[in-house]
């Protein structure tokens, strides 16, 4: 549908985080059909609305709060390596795109997702720049709640100390995507299985295979609704098991210190 004032009203509501009910589907469809004007307005309106924050007075936070917050950061499990960040940023864009493209019954989008998937055979650093652009464009159009996306770094563990991974998830969308690298090849009767820790207990989030280069881009189809505390990947019999039995090869730091 052509751009109209009504769309601008809906974009304004989205930018202000108003619950929209049935109108949400309408504006999402409009953005999906491709309206550069609304895409730009959404980004601009969100920034513009933040001008109201300048009406508030800064408040000196208690010193104890600073200690509590900075002391609660999960320790970094993966030592930073210069040069990796560009590749991870591409993976992040792809992961977040997958995160929000899930469940959309749209042929064009499904094709784009399949394209992204096929690239996952050689992921890090090799996604074409057009796909980065695509991911960013789709993000603007679709990720209406991008501030909701959380990320946790997973580090190699046990038999696979060099494995690396990141989980991106959205509590609101109840979706999660794992990107991983340096995973070891497995016998054909084995698969990797992702676990989400809820209240200290591992919950099955699905099984996946790594490509021959040891990389994986896995979108969890049954991501738990409750807030995830931590994630781990184990090696399990093909098809997965209800509770982890094999060695942990990737694990994140606990989210609460």
């Amino acid at each position: 549908m052509a751009h109209s004032e009504r769309h601008e009203e809906l974009v304004a509501a989205v930018a202000l985080g108003m619950p929209l009910g049935a109108e949400r589907a309408e504006i999402e469809q409009h953005l999906r059909d491709g309206c550069p004007l609304c895409e730009e307005l959404l980004v601009d309106f969100r920034q513009a609305a933040s001008a109201f924050a300048a009406e508030t007075r800064a408040v000196a936070p208690p010193a104890a709060l600073r200690e509590r917050i900075l002391g609660s950061l999960p320790p970094a499990r993966v030592p930073a390596r210069r040069g990796d960040f560009a590749a991870w940023r591409v993976l992040a864009a792809a992961a977040v795109l997958l995160l929000f493209a899930v469940g959309l019954d749209d042929a064009r989008l499904r094709r784009q997702r399949e394209d992204l998937r096929s690239q996952s055979a050689d992921l890090a650093g090799r996604l074409a720049s057009t796909q980065i652009e695509l991911a960013q464009r789709e993000l603007r159009a679709r990720v209406l709640e991008s501030e909701d996306v959380q990320m946790l770094i997973l580090g190699g563990h046990g038999p696979q100390p060099d494995a690396q991974g990141r989980v991106f998830w959205s509590p609101r969308a109840k979706r999660g995507v794992l990107v991983a690298a340096n995973l070891a090849p497995l016998p054909t009767d084995r698969q990797y299985q992702l676990w989400v820790f809820l209240a200290g207990k591992p919950v099955d989030a699905g099984v996946f295979d790594a490509d021959p280069a040891g990389k994986a881009l896995f979108e969890s189809k049954n991501f738990p609704e409750a807030n995830a505390q931590n994630f781990a990947v184990t090696v399990e019999p093909r098809g997965g098991v209800p509770a982890p039995t094999g060695p942990i090869v990737l694990v994140g730091a606990p989210s609460q210190g």
Binding site: Q47, A54, E147
Partner: protein
């Protein structure tokens, strides 16, 4: 003038992404006062506002890679995150416990002793521009946007609260944001907009 080109937050975010806790501490020192002020304005002076601040910085630590500079500055990213978390909590409360929104004139002049906190916010020039832009809005547009921004009200709720037809409220919200955007857009950063 492009304020954001001078934005030291961008370099800090890159370091946060590389898991540099000192960079997050620096971001905290630059923004915590403003963010806590916003959370308290929405939630009142409760422990909840401090919980929101904790969530926001944990989020910044975890999700630094999802920060997209084409969607706004680091400060805006943190403000949006603080505001949306605060509004979520506000909506979860009963309506009766909502703190009343106050307009700019009703607020006391800056509380004594907080000048140093304001001074720590390098974006004072940006904030001055924002205050001016908000101040230039027609009263009814500003009121509608304040109700949406600080109280998380929907079009329908604003219409009921201000005894205004729904269509008028929708127009006010749209026009108000459009005016703010036109006024501030020259200072937005990024490749696709801005000077």
């Amino acid at each position: 003038m492009n304020l954001r080109r001078l934005d030291p937050d961008r370099a800090l975010m890159a370091r946060v992404e590389a898991r540099d806790a000192d960079a997050l501490a620096a971001l905290y020192d630059r923004h915590a006062g403003r963010l806590l002020g916003l959370a308290q304005r929405i939630l009142g002076e409760t422990g909840e506002a401090e919980e929101v601040l904790q969530e926001v910085f944990l989020f910044a630590w975890r999700a630094a890679a999802s920060f997209d500079p084409t969607r706004g500055s680091v400060a805006t990213w943190l403000l949006i995150s603080t505001r949306s978390r605060s509004i979520d909590r506000l909506r979860a409360r009963r309506p009766a416990s909502r703190p009343e929104v106050r307009s700019l004139e009703e607020l006391p002049e800056g509380p004594p002793g907080l000048q140093d906190v304001e001074g720590a916010t390098v974006d004072r020039e940006w904030e001055r521009l924002c205050r001016n832009a908000v101040g230039e809005l027609p009263e009814e547009q500003r009121r509608a946007l304040e109700l949406a921004y600080f109280e998380g009200l929907t079009h329908q709720e604003i219409a009921a609260k201000t005894a205004t037809p729904l269509g008028t409220v929708k127009t006010r919200v749209r026009l108000g944001l459009m005016k703010l955007r036109d006024r501030l857009r020259p200072y937005f950063e990024s490749g696709s907009h801005g000077p």
